[in-house]
Symmetry: C2
Subunit: 133 residues, 2 copies
DNA sequence: GCTGGACTTGACGCCGATGTCAAGGCTTAC
DNA sequence: GTAAGCCTTGACATCGGCGTCAAGTCCAGC
Protein backbone atom coordinates (compact mmCIF):
# COMPACT_ATOMS: atom_id res chain seq x y z
CA UNK A 1 0.00 0.00 0.00
CA UNK A 2 1.09 3.58 -0.41
CA UNK A 3 1.86 6.11 2.25
CA UNK A 4 -1.53 7.82 2.27
CA UNK A 5 -3.36 4.58 2.91
CA UNK A 6 -0.96 3.51 5.62
CA UNK A 7 -1.29 6.89 7.30
CA UNK A 8 -5.04 6.70 7.29
CA UNK A 9 -5.16 3.12 8.53
CA UNK A 10 -2.70 3.92 11.29
CA UNK A 11 -4.45 7.10 12.29
CA UNK A 12 -1.59 9.42 11.53
CA UNK A 13 -0.20 11.53 8.69
CA UNK A 14 2.07 10.93 5.73
CA UNK A 15 4.37 13.54 7.16
CA UNK A 16 4.80 11.55 10.36
CA UNK A 17 5.49 8.33 8.50
CA UNK A 18 8.19 10.00 6.47
CA UNK A 19 9.64 11.33 9.69
CA UNK A 20 9.66 7.86 11.26
CA UNK A 21 11.44 6.59 8.20
CA UNK A 22 13.94 9.42 8.43
CA UNK A 23 14.62 8.33 12.00
CA UNK A 24 15.27 4.82 10.78
CA UNK A 25 12.13 3.28 12.23
CA UNK A 26 10.45 2.31 8.99
CA UNK A 27 11.61 0.58 5.86
CA UNK A 28 12.52 2.26 2.60
CA UNK A 29 11.01 -0.15 0.09
CA UNK A 30 10.00 1.68 -3.09
CA UNK A 31 8.02 0.98 -6.19
CA UNK A 32 9.72 1.32 -9.57
CA UNK A 33 8.52 4.89 -9.78
CA UNK A 34 9.91 5.88 -6.42
CA UNK A 35 6.77 5.71 -4.31
CA UNK A 36 6.99 4.15 -0.86
CA UNK A 37 5.46 0.71 -0.68
CA UNK A 38 4.17 -0.71 2.60
CA UNK A 39 2.60 -3.95 3.75
CA UNK A 40 0.69 -5.21 6.77
CA UNK A 41 3.80 -5.69 8.83
CA UNK A 42 4.59 -2.02 8.42
CA UNK A 43 1.14 -1.24 9.70
CA UNK A 44 1.93 -3.20 12.82
CA UNK A 45 5.12 -1.25 13.34
CA UNK A 46 3.33 2.04 13.00
CA UNK A 47 0.62 0.92 15.38
CA UNK A 48 3.29 0.03 17.91
CA UNK A 49 4.95 3.41 17.51
CA UNK A 50 1.69 5.30 17.83
CA UNK A 51 0.67 3.44 20.94
CA UNK A 52 3.94 4.17 22.68
CA UNK A 53 3.92 7.81 21.62
CA UNK A 54 0.39 8.11 22.94
CA UNK A 55 1.43 7.08 26.41
CA UNK A 56 4.32 9.50 26.51
CA UNK A 57 7.28 7.69 25.02
CA UNK A 58 9.70 9.62 22.91
CA UNK A 59 10.11 8.44 19.35
CA UNK A 60 13.61 7.23 20.05
CA UNK A 61 12.32 5.08 22.88
CA UNK A 62 10.09 3.18 20.51
CA UNK A 63 13.07 1.91 18.55
CA UNK A 64 13.67 -1.24 20.60
CA UNK A 65 10.02 -2.17 20.24
CA UNK A 66 10.11 -1.69 16.50
CA UNK A 67 13.27 -3.73 16.20
CA UNK A 68 11.76 -6.40 18.38
CA UNK A 69 8.78 -6.70 16.06
CA UNK A 70 11.03 -6.63 13.02
CA UNK A 71 13.07 -9.49 14.36
CA UNK A 72 9.96 -11.64 14.32
CA UNK A 73 8.65 -11.39 17.86
CA UNK A 74 4.94 -11.47 18.49
CA UNK A 75 5.00 -8.44 20.73
CA UNK A 76 7.30 -5.46 20.54
CA UNK A 77 7.63 -5.41 24.29
CA UNK A 78 9.08 -8.84 24.90
CA UNK A 79 12.69 -8.19 24.00
CA UNK A 80 15.25 -7.29 26.67
CA UNK A 81 15.88 -3.82 25.29
CA UNK A 82 12.15 -3.09 25.33
CA UNK A 83 11.85 -4.34 28.88
CA UNK A 84 14.68 -2.02 29.83
CA UNK A 85 12.84 0.92 28.31
CA UNK A 86 9.68 -0.10 30.12
CA UNK A 87 11.58 -0.13 33.38
CA UNK A 88 13.18 3.22 32.80
CA UNK A 89 9.92 4.75 31.73
CA UNK A 90 8.13 3.36 34.74
CA UNK A 91 10.70 4.96 37.02
CA UNK A 92 10.35 8.26 35.18
CA UNK A 93 6.59 8.18 35.40
CA UNK A 94 6.65 7.32 39.06
CA UNK A 95 8.96 10.17 39.94
CA UNK A 96 6.90 12.48 37.80
CA UNK A 97 3.78 11.43 39.68
CA UNK A 98 5.56 12.09 42.95
CA UNK A 99 6.56 15.58 41.88
CA UNK A 100 3.11 16.37 40.58
CA UNK A 101 1.57 15.11 43.77
CA UNK A 102 3.70 17.52 45.74
CA UNK A 103 2.69 20.31 43.41
CA UNK A 104 -0.95 19.36 43.76
CA UNK A 105 -0.73 19.45 47.54
CA UNK A 106 1.05 22.79 47.40
CA UNK A 107 -1.66 24.21 45.14
CA UNK A 108 -4.36 22.94 47.45
CA UNK A 109 -2.64 24.57 50.39
CA UNK A 110 -2.43 27.85 48.58
CA UNK A 111 -6.08 27.74 47.65
CA UNK A 112 -7.02 26.82 51.17
CA UNK A 113 -4.91 29.61 52.61
CA UNK A 114 -6.37 32.27 50.36
CA UNK A 115 -9.92 31.00 50.28
CA UNK A 116 -10.67 29.45 53.62
CA UNK A 117 -8.67 31.85 55.73
CA UNK A 118 -10.79 34.42 57.53
CA UNK A 119 -11.42 37.22 55.11
CA UNK A 120 -10.37 40.71 55.96
CA UNK A 121 -13.85 42.01 55.54
CA UNK A 122 -13.59 42.66 51.84
CA UNK A 123 -15.13 40.30 49.36
CA UNK A 124 -13.58 36.86 49.08
CA UNK A 125 -11.40 36.38 46.05
CA UNK A 126 -12.79 32.89 45.84
CA UNK A 127 -16.17 33.95 44.61
CA UNK A 128 -14.39 34.52 41.35
CA UNK A 129 -14.86 31.60 39.01
CA UNK A 130 -13.31 31.70 35.61
CA UNK A 131 -15.59 30.45 32.88
CA UNK A 132 -14.80 26.84 32.12
CA UNK A 133 -14.64 26.69 28.36
CA UNK B 1 20.79 47.33 41.78
CA UNK B 2 21.80 46.24 38.32
CA UNK B 3 20.73 43.20 36.38
CA UNK B 4 23.69 40.98 37.26
CA UNK B 5 23.15 41.42 40.97
CA UNK B 6 19.42 40.85 40.72
CA UNK B 7 20.01 37.72 38.68
CA UNK B 8 22.41 36.34 41.22
CA UNK B 9 20.22 37.18 44.19
CA UNK B 10 17.22 35.64 42.50
CA UNK B 11 19.09 32.55 41.41
CA UNK B 12 18.63 33.08 37.72
CA UNK B 13 20.37 34.72 34.75
CA UNK B 14 20.45 38.17 33.23
CA UNK B 15 19.12 36.63 30.06
CA UNK B 16 16.04 35.39 31.85
CA UNK B 17 15.40 38.73 33.47
CA UNK B 18 15.56 40.49 30.12
CA UNK B 19 13.18 37.89 28.79
CA UNK B 20 10.73 38.49 31.63
CA UNK B 21 10.92 42.19 30.91
CA UNK B 22 10.29 41.55 27.25
CA UNK B 23 7.19 39.65 28.26
CA UNK B 24 6.04 42.63 30.25
CA UNK B 25 6.55 41.05 33.65
CA UNK B 26 9.29 43.36 34.89
CA UNK B 27 9.72 47.11 34.87
CA UNK B 28 11.84 49.09 32.46
CA UNK B 29 13.38 51.63 34.81
CA UNK B 30 16.79 52.74 33.58
CA UNK B 31 19.72 54.70 34.84
CA UNK B 32 20.81 57.79 32.91
CA UNK B 33 23.23 55.66 30.97
CA UNK B 34 20.67 53.11 29.92
CA UNK B 35 21.39 50.35 32.40
CA UNK B 36 18.46 48.59 34.03
CA UNK B 37 17.90 49.62 37.61
CA UNK B 38 16.12 47.33 40.06
CA UNK B 39 15.10 47.51 43.71
CA UNK B 40 13.97 45.09 46.39
CA UNK B 41 10.42 44.99 45.13
CA UNK B 42 11.69 43.72 41.79
CA UNK B 43 13.52 40.99 43.63
CA UNK B 44 10.23 39.93 45.16
CA UNK B 45 8.61 39.81 41.74
CA UNK B 46 11.39 37.66 40.35
CA UNK B 47 11.24 35.37 43.34
CA UNK B 48 7.52 34.95 42.75
CA UNK B 49 8.06 34.19 39.08
CA UNK B 50 10.80 31.68 39.80
CA UNK B 51 8.77 29.85 42.42
CA UNK B 52 5.85 29.44 40.07
CA UNK B 53 8.04 28.37 37.16
CA UNK B 54 9.69 25.82 39.43
CA UNK B 55 6.40 24.10 40.13
CA UNK B 56 5.44 23.94 36.49
CA UNK B 57 3.65 27.19 35.71
CA UNK B 58 4.16 28.75 32.33
CA UNK B 59 5.63 32.22 32.33
CA UNK B 60 2.37 33.70 31.13
CA UNK B 61 0.57 32.14 34.06
CA UNK B 62 2.74 34.03 36.51
CA UNK B 63 1.45 37.35 35.21
CA UNK B 64 -1.55 37.65 37.55
CA UNK B 65 0.71 36.96 40.52
CA UNK B 66 3.17 39.60 39.44
CA UNK B 67 0.42 42.14 38.90
CA UNK B 68 -1.05 41.23 42.25
CA UNK B 69 2.24 41.98 43.98
CA UNK B 70 2.67 45.14 41.95
CA UNK B 71 -0.70 46.39 43.05
CA UNK B 72 0.49 46.31 46.63
CA UNK B 73 -0.74 42.98 47.89
CA UNK B 74 1.30 41.06 50.43
CA UNK B 75 1.12 37.83 48.51
CA UNK B 76 0.95 37.37 44.77
CA UNK B 77 -1.57 34.61 45.20
CA UNK B 78 -4.34 36.47 46.95
CA UNK B 79 -5.91 38.24 43.99
CA UNK B 80 -8.91 36.77 42.16
CA UNK B 81 -7.02 36.28 38.91
CA UNK B 82 -4.25 34.42 40.74
CA UNK B 83 -6.78 32.23 42.51
CA UNK B 84 -8.28 31.43 39.13
CA UNK B 85 -4.90 30.36 37.83
CA UNK B 86 -4.33 28.25 40.93
CA UNK B 87 -7.65 26.54 40.32
CA UNK B 88 -6.98 25.91 36.69
CA UNK B 89 -3.50 24.64 37.41
CA UNK B 90 -4.77 22.35 40.12
CA UNK B 91 -7.24 20.84 37.70
CA UNK B 92 -4.50 20.41 35.11
CA UNK B 93 -2.17 18.79 37.58
CA UNK B 94 -4.87 16.47 38.83
CA UNK B 95 -5.79 15.29 35.37
CA UNK B 96 -2.13 14.91 34.54
CA UNK B 97 -1.67 12.76 37.62
CA UNK B 98 -4.64 10.66 36.57
CA UNK B 99 -3.19 10.11 33.12
CA UNK B 100 0.22 9.28 34.45
CA UNK B 101 -1.28 6.88 36.93
CA UNK B 102 -2.96 5.04 34.10
CA UNK B 103 0.29 4.97 32.20
CA UNK B 104 2.11 3.69 35.28
CA UNK B 105 -0.39 0.89 35.72
CA UNK B 106 -0.14 0.03 32.05
CA UNK B 107 3.64 -0.12 32.26
CA UNK B 108 3.46 -2.32 35.33
CA UNK B 109 1.10 -4.65 33.53
CA UNK B 110 3.43 -4.88 30.57
CA UNK B 111 6.38 -5.61 32.78
CA UNK B 112 4.41 -8.20 34.68
CA UNK B 113 3.20 -9.82 31.50
CA UNK B 114 6.66 -10.11 30.00
CA UNK B 115 8.57 -10.84 33.16
CA UNK B 116 6.36 -12.84 35.49
CA UNK B 117 4.58 -14.83 32.85
CA UNK B 118 5.85 -18.39 32.54
CA UNK B 119 8.87 -18.29 30.30
CA UNK B 120 8.92 -20.30 27.15
CA UNK B 121 12.00 -22.12 28.17
CA UNK B 122 14.46 -19.61 26.82
CA UNK B 123 16.20 -17.18 29.08
CA UNK B 124 14.05 -14.54 30.72
CA UNK B 125 14.32 -11.11 29.16
CA UNK B 126 14.04 -9.71 32.66
CA UNK B 127 17.48 -10.74 33.71
CA UNK B 128 18.60 -7.85 31.60
CA UNK B 129 19.23 -4.80 33.75
CA UNK B 130 20.40 -1.64 32.10
CA UNK B 131 23.10 0.14 34.02
CA UNK B 132 21.60 2.90 36.14
CA UNK B 133 23.78 5.90 35.47
C1' DG C 1 43.45 57.59 29.74
C1' DC C 2 43.30 52.81 29.70
C1' DT C 3 41.80 48.24 30.73
C1' DG C 4 38.64 44.79 32.21
C1' DG C 5 34.26 43.66 33.52
C1' DA C 6 29.36 44.42 33.40
C1' DC C 7 26.07 46.24 30.59
C1' DT C 8 23.26 47.05 26.05
C1' DT C 9 20.45 45.22 21.80
C1' DG C 10 19.86 41.76 18.30
C1' DA C 11 19.74 37.48 16.62
C1' DC C 12 20.26 32.54 16.09
C1' DG C 13 20.08 27.73 18.37
C1' DC C 14 17.77 24.12 20.91
C1' DC C 15 14.36 20.25 21.52
C1' DG C 16 10.50 16.91 19.25
C1' DA C 17 7.01 15.73 16.50
C1' DT C 18 4.52 17.49 13.16
C1' DG C 19 2.04 21.16 10.03
C1' DT C 20 2.50 23.27 5.86
C1' DC C 21 4.06 25.23 1.63
C1' DA C 22 6.61 24.79 -2.85
C1' DA C 23 7.80 22.77 -7.12
C1' DG C 24 7.76 18.99 -9.59
C1' DG C 25 6.75 13.71 -10.96
C1' DC C 26 3.39 9.75 -11.20
C1' DT C 27 -1.19 7.56 -11.81
C1' DT C 28 -5.64 6.96 -13.15
C1' DA C 29 -9.91 7.77 -15.18
C1' DC C 30 -12.00 9.99 -18.83
C1' DG D 1 -3.91 14.07 -23.74
C1' DT D 2 -5.39 16.13 -19.82
C1' DA D 3 -6.97 17.11 -15.28
C1' DA D 4 -7.22 15.76 -10.58
C1' DG D 5 -5.16 13.75 -6.98
C1' DC D 6 -1.78 11.14 -5.21
C1' DC D 7 3.22 11.02 -4.56
C1' DT D 8 8.28 12.91 -4.16
C1' DT D 9 12.10 15.92 -1.68
C1' DG D 10 13.32 20.03 0.79
C1' DA D 11 12.83 23.41 3.81
C1' DC D 12 10.74 26.59 7.01
C1' DA D 13 7.42 27.22 11.18
C1' DT D 14 5.69 25.97 15.69
C1' DC D 15 6.12 26.32 21.10
C1' DG D 16 8.91 28.12 25.68
C1' DG D 17 12.39 29.45 28.26
C1' DC D 18 16.18 30.26 27.95
C1' DG D 19 21.90 29.69 26.30
C1' DT D 20 25.11 31.91 23.76
C1' DC D 21 27.61 34.68 20.59
C1' DA D 22 28.54 39.37 18.50
C1' DA D 23 29.46 44.11 18.42
C1' DG D 24 29.26 48.05 20.73
C1' DT D 25 28.65 51.09 25.35
C1' DC D 26 29.50 52.22 30.18
C1' DC D 27 31.73 52.18 34.75
C1' DA D 28 35.42 51.63 38.25
C1' DG D 29 40.08 51.34 39.55
C1' DC D 30 44.85 52.33 38.52
Amino acid sequence: MRIGELAERAGTSSRSLRYYEQQGLLSTRRTASGHRDYDESDLRLVHQIRELLAIGFGLEETRPFVECLRSGHESGGECPASIAVYRRKLAEVESCIDRLTEVRDHLREQLTAHCDAPMTGKESPCQYRHGGE
